[in-house]
Symmetry: C2
Subunit: 499 residues, 2 copies
């Protein structure tokens, strides 16, 4: 290709739209958080699984999670033998494939966790990326609600392990069967033909999910004839009568002060529906299991307003919400909201094997949780910068490298300055850019006398903020001369002083 | 889609051809190895970088690493706005993009490391996958050979950190400039037109690279008129005269007992070539830096037979070879060969900015190195299986969950059996499949007496190997009754006994 004036056109140095890079502390902070999460998963007996990023489109299936955007897609391409391959859009679809593939060799139940990027071919937006991390834990092969309770307890432990204080989060539980019971009561679901009226149920689900944003009147409009928004756009409603809409709204607002009262309210609402009663029983059992283990109302609650967008859930659904406020860019107080969610899905493996395999699991939104930690001032474990050994005499590089080797052997991160050493100021600027705690200086004079200079850069920076005259600069105690053979001990002491 | 007899066709539960899954210990072993490698990288002052898996095809460029297979490709697809996107095929191309993109904000020199999967759209084969891990460290922005020496020293430290003993590996160094000097001497390279005769040089490079396989006569044939292999296929040669071929072969065999002698032999061979002399000087300097730091002939050697396939290297090239033998599937002794390699590439960033940016770096072949560790019996840090609390009474699930919570709080990996508890044998089989060290059993009788049974499964397995009669089974001491309130202490003691 040739550009204007016949000059060769250069490629643009940019990541594709919707993708991002993580540098330095952004990598180490996330890694530290993920290590804490997976340590909890492992303590609960979950084993790691890492599948490849690429799956056949056939194996991924049509389980794209967001029912609001059925066209939201995957990144897919055709293989040389015409098979369609795609990047995974979550970690659950590959789990279903793996379980179907290896089911005879896996322990049953199979508890697995997985960490890694997933990809969505969606329109990027502020804070919405086309590649992001998930960190999931799922139990496959058991119908008992003890498995759901275990994951709710684990989710609570995970949040506290990464540094979210008790009181700053809430694990909220609901059950799709209760929701189906409500649908049955209002005439939108029937055990004889569970697939009928799926569209109207979808409208109800989305309306419930939007309670925060639309308020009770907006939700009521969507449950009934439909809703016209401020711009004049009309959204079709579910067509429920006013009485039926009252039942749905009563369901959304059925959360009471304690689990027993909530269960009683729900049982009343789904009276006459077998599946509804089953769902309420499950909520009650999970609540009892949580209470018996000490997960009380300060961190776990039955909350009928929890829906979770994912179409494939069949029983308990749960999410973890951060309840503290942070200021947004305009200084407005905002709640962080949901950072993890999941539920029971009993049909995913069936696609492959024809047999229903009950499963339940949670996915942590890694980037959102990390953002919350950073906003909270937690999780900012920036790794220390390296000690920088400066180069005063290019011919003595081997001596400088011997110094850093000594420091490293003592467990101190260290490096030689490898840029052009001519301008000494640039070497100190470099050390500054690396957040170095200490710079080491040894010219020919020092070498002759068997000493080195070590410079406390952290102290220097603090002094620089308060020193204005040149004389003060010269008097500042941030640099000291030490015997060469005390290098490791003195550098270690200087770093300790800076902490 | 409908299959035979009109039944709906199920998707196949399989990963795409050439991709693989990692389960359990396969994940934790690799993770443990990568943590050791990156700890060394960090000690040397390298900072982490994580780019997205997806790049524009334009940014990736045509730097596919293997000159032998110019058609080897990337996985690429067209975005909805017609831009071509692709999965990265290595970690170096994204580094060049990132450096060009952020160069004003990055420290200079920029030392970065990166770990992650890369993808190759190649024909899969035994041990050849289309997704695999790389673990790279590169220094961008400095021309000094001290940077190359640093990476050679670090590579040695990395191998010892993961568990390869000194004496079981060798870091081998060569220099492309010396090779170019040899090419100049034999008339295949000219400073006036460095791009000319690239094809003939490629034939020479590949011939040198195949010395192990073809022997000296095969290489000589490829340097000259060409070579017919056993099947009768003819490979075109570089067309060198016998005298010129002698020079190339002398170069390949220029390794002597010590670095000084090797340098002298090379200096003799490239006499009259400016670039050749420059390359020999660099080898000498790196050798001196390594020797001064104590990296002697037991782990570092100048070896002119090192070529490295990658077309973009411009100076020092290095690789780490494992020198111990392992048995292959047929019991034949084989050397493991190269597990890491790299070199200096000064032109990659220039594609974006027009300015030459000197850089040097190494890539560790993660899967190969891990395979070597496993073959060597190192790196087999299988994580302990969880303590399994069995379920004797389904109604008392909360009690069992309280037990595992106690164990976990004490730092012991533990879980409740969540399968169908009816068949107790299945519970023990499950514990066995999980490699559980201990099973906990509490029925109503035990509960009434305030005790639990704990079963040493590790000991049980050892006994099972030696016990043949039923009476012996009953007499085996692998199970004991303990007070319930001593659960944590006794389980911990039993696990300690098993280790």
């Amino acid at each position: 290709m040739a550009g204007k004036q016949g000059k060769p056109q250069r490629p643009k140095a940019a990541q594709p739209r919707g993708f991002r890079d993580y540098l330095g502390a952004e990598v180490t902070q996330r890694r530290a958080m993920l290590e804490r999460i997976t340590a909890v998963y492992e303590a609960y007996g979950f084993d790691p699984l890492e599948t490849s990023a690429v799956e056949t489109v056939e194996a991924l299936g049509k389980f794209l999670p967001d029912v609001d955007r059925p066209n939201a897609g995957v990144f897919a391409w055709q293989d040389e033998d015409a098979a369609w391959l795609a990047l995974r859009y979550d970690l659950t679809a590959p789990l279903a494939r793996v379980y179907a593939q290896y089911r005879n060799d896996l322990p049953s139940p199979y508890r697995r966790y997985a960490v890694g990027p997933v990809w969505r071919n969606e329109k990027p937006g502020p804070g919405r990326f086309r590649q992001f991390y998930q960190c999931d834990a799922d139990t496959v092969g058991t119908p008992t609600v003890a498995a759901d309770a275990e994951i709710c307890a684990m989710l609570s432990d995970v949040l506290e392990a990464v540094g979210i204080a008790r009181g700053d989060y809430m694990v909220r539980l609901n059950n799709r069967k209760v929701l189906n019971g409500v649908m049955e009561v209002v005439g939108l679901w029937s055990p004889d033909d569970p697939d009928a009226q799926a569209q109207a149920r979808g409208i109800v689900l989305r309306a419930i999910d939007k309670l925060d944003r639309l308020g009770i009147d907006g939700v009521r409009a969507l449950l009934g004839a439909g809703r016209k928004d401020a711009s004049g756009d009309f959204t079709e409603g579910a067509g429920l009568s006013a009485d039926a809409a009252d039942v749905v709204i009563a369901f959304m607002e059925a959360r009471r002060d304690n689990a027993g009262a909530t269960v009683a309210a729900l049982r009343d609402l789904v009276r006459g529906s077998t599946i509804g009663a089953e769902g309420v029983d499950e909520l009650e059992q999970i609540g009892a299991l949580m209470a018996a283990q000490g997960y009380g109302a300060d961190r776990f609650v039955l909350d009928p307003s929890v829906v979770r967008g994912l179409g494939y859930y069949t029983g308990p659904v749960y999410e973890a919400e951060l309840t503290f406020e942070v200021r947004d860019a305009k200084g407005r107080a905002q709640q962080f909201g949901s950072v993890a969610g999941g539920g029971r899905y009993d049909d995913l493996v069936k696609r492959f094997t024809g047999q229903q395999v009950p499963a339940t699991g949670v996915s942590v939104g890694v980037d959102r949780l990390l953002a919350a930690l950073v906003a909270r001032g937690a999780g900012q474990s920036t790794p220390p910068g390296p000690v920088v050994v400066t180069v005063m005499d290019r011919a003595r590089m081997a001596d400088y490298q011997a110094m850093v080797a000594e420091l490293r052997t003592a467990g101190i991160r260290a490096e030689v300055y490898l840029g052009n050493p001519k301008n000494f100021g640039n070497q100190l600027k470099y050390a500054d850019a690396r957040s170095s705690p200490v710079a080491v200086i040894e010219g020919s004079d020092e070498q002759a006398r068997g000493v080195v200079q070590i410079k406390d850069l952290a102290l220097g920076a603090r002094l620089a903020a308060n020193i204005t005259t040149n004389d003060e600069w010269k008097a500042q105690p941030a640099q000291m001369e030490i015997p060469r053979d005390e290098l490791v001990a003195q550098v270690r002491a200087m770093i300790a002083r800076a902490d």
